[in-house]
Amino acid sequence: MNWTKYFLISAFYLSFAMSSSFGAPTWEAANEAYQNGKYEEAKVDYLQLAGMHEYSADLFYNLGNAWFKLGDQGRAILNYERALVLNPRLEEAKANLQTALRIVGNDDQPTFRERIGMYADYFPLIASITFWTAAFCLLPALRPRVRFIAFWRSACIAAALICVGSVGMSFWVGSGSKDPNRALVVESATDLKYGPAVTARPVESLQVGQHVELISERGDWTFCRSSSDNLGWIITRRAERVIP
């Protein structure tokens, strides 16, 4: 009796899992739709893949291309940025991002901190590697009668210095491009306003692809700081977080 019950439960879960996986789009199907010029279909498939949290630089790069082909340069830029957050060395994403930015007329150059922020994950990595290197070099450096003691001591000091520098850079850059409050303006004619109302006076006109830092949300409006350090309100849907 018990075995029958377990068999039925397993069969139910298996059939459920299989039905859900049959309904899900595949990477190949999305790519095929794109290559056949069915950009809307490709976009929906890529979005569903992203909705399943199967994040990858290639997925967002392809999704950016689909948006680009559909004429939405704002969301194309957003997804190229997402691709670059996941893989800062994806040259194709860099090239397409430049193309999309040129089309929308956004020629703002990223600041030094923003450029460094793309590689924010490298600093803790370097810091941890150099920390352990210094720790391992410290053992022979402190022991008497060890061969090449000058080498161990120099290596320990050099690794410690690099570790301190990397930790400092890590604090300065913070989460960098992975900052969850970082957003991009994705729609044109977006004004940063003094108050959360359409009738409020504009502080600054924001360009498509311009970065903003989201501070707080109130209804359909978001209080944010623009890249030129102005504070104000924008309609929430006009800016999307880079980190989904």
Partner: protein
Amino acid sequence: MKSLLTALILLLGIAALAVAEPSISASLSETVTDVDHPVQLEIKIQNARVTRPPTVSANGLSINFAGTSSHTQILNFQATTIVTFTYIVTPTKEGIYEIPPVEVSAGGKTYRTSTLTLKIIHNDSNNAGRPAASDKPYFAELVVPKESAYVGEQIPIELRFYFNPRIQYQPYPQGQYPIIDGEGFVTKKYPEPGEKQFELNGRPYHVVVYRTALTGVKPGKLELQSASQSFLVSTPFGSRNAPGFVDPFEDYQQQVIDVKTNGASIDIKALPAAGRPASFSGAVGDFTLATSVQPTKTRTGDPVSMKVEIKGLGNFDRMEQPTLTDTDGWRTYHPSEETEALDDLGLSAVKTFNYPLVAEKPAPAAKLPVIEFSYFDPNAEKYVTLKSTPITIEVDGERLPDLSAPPVTTGASPPVPQIRTQPIPDVLDIETRRPSPGSFLPLVAQPIFWIGQAIPAGSLLLLVFGLWFRNVRIASLPLRALNRERRALWKKVDASNNRPEVLQAAVRLLELDVLSKIRDKVKAQMSLEEAISEEALPVELRSEVRALLEARGATIYGHLGSECLTEDERVRIKNVLDRCKATA
């Protein structure tokens, strides 16, 4: 000591009981002041519990609450609690003003101050003709050099914020730039503001100057209501010092103020439709064009770079790439572009376009395509078209096959030069490889990072433990050797029937067990015989140990006695050994 404390507490208690009647008073730090010089108003309330500052207002004066302080004093066993409310009174106009009595309710009664009078005078009698704005300690003006401009024309403007030299100021929050109130225009990013000394109507001012450029985006009346900027100012009150004299003990009142400029109106005119060249793409200003090519000798199929420099004053951010004409014999590609600002605002700049060109056929003097660039000159109020001077270069090699759809070429002998259409930029193709997963979490927030840290941490721990264990083992080597020897000796004593061997083993055990302990105590080298004579062993044991030593000597060196050990003797030897061990 205890009684002293009790007396003190008692005294304080009595003092607390002897509280006097409430009273209120008001005073001004100065009764005569200048229009640009705030004074301090203090309202002191004695012996009444008042927490909210009373409302103070007077016609013609700006009065702002600045803070509260309170203290208690005991004089002749009389406790007095004084709460002081401080206000900053800022005069705005010349004249004599009265601050009406201030009312405070306490304990069901209402108390009121007396009326205060403040006389506001002009410090300088020779400035009757100065602008009204300069009467204030701070003011601002918006300087717009033109009353009319064209759509897309950049208008440099200045926002000047004037401060009395006695006022300390800084933008608030730091790094905040002025906001211009109005619609239908865009501005450039502000460079760092400049600061200078300025004299207006004989009065010195510190002036903060923000510069930017404004561009009207649609025709019509462009109304700039004002520009505003917040500053954190420190205003001195107390005695007025001579200009330039800095009193380190002077009191300052800090407050955040919003300084607004005057408004302005600009008539934004539409660009004329008549005479607009086909190659016009929105550039407005005054420009020059220069071209050059590298290298000057090439082969068919090899690229040459034609550099086009557009220099001048205008809206470079709206400038599109110039068009190419007479492209016969050349394959042309999308140029790269770069802008170098020549001033801090970027009004004056050089924009460089680099066109990659590939020659299709050989020629001793091949003419490069001609660059055509049109712009609207707002000063001359007309469109201007610039064309590059023809450049020839030497081209060797074979003629390239004709492409089915050459990028941009005109006919072999066109009657009218055709304008090169702008290519629609496209993106690179999608990636089809199997995507490798990534994470938007910062590395330090990912578990894998910390798992990765555990590997070297564990290795380091193991290494340190290994080294410690090795050192301990090395240090315990002699001890372990002794223990091994001791076990072997005991084995002999227990099991061997060879008498000399057992005696030898027993003496060696005595040396190991007894002598080593005695050595630890007396810290000196000695033999077993010396140890016995030194009375290191109890009396009853000495003779037995000595007998054992003698038996060993007789058996081994004298070859006397039996070679075989009896069980009685073994028991006796073991007994001696056990007792010696216990004694040691």
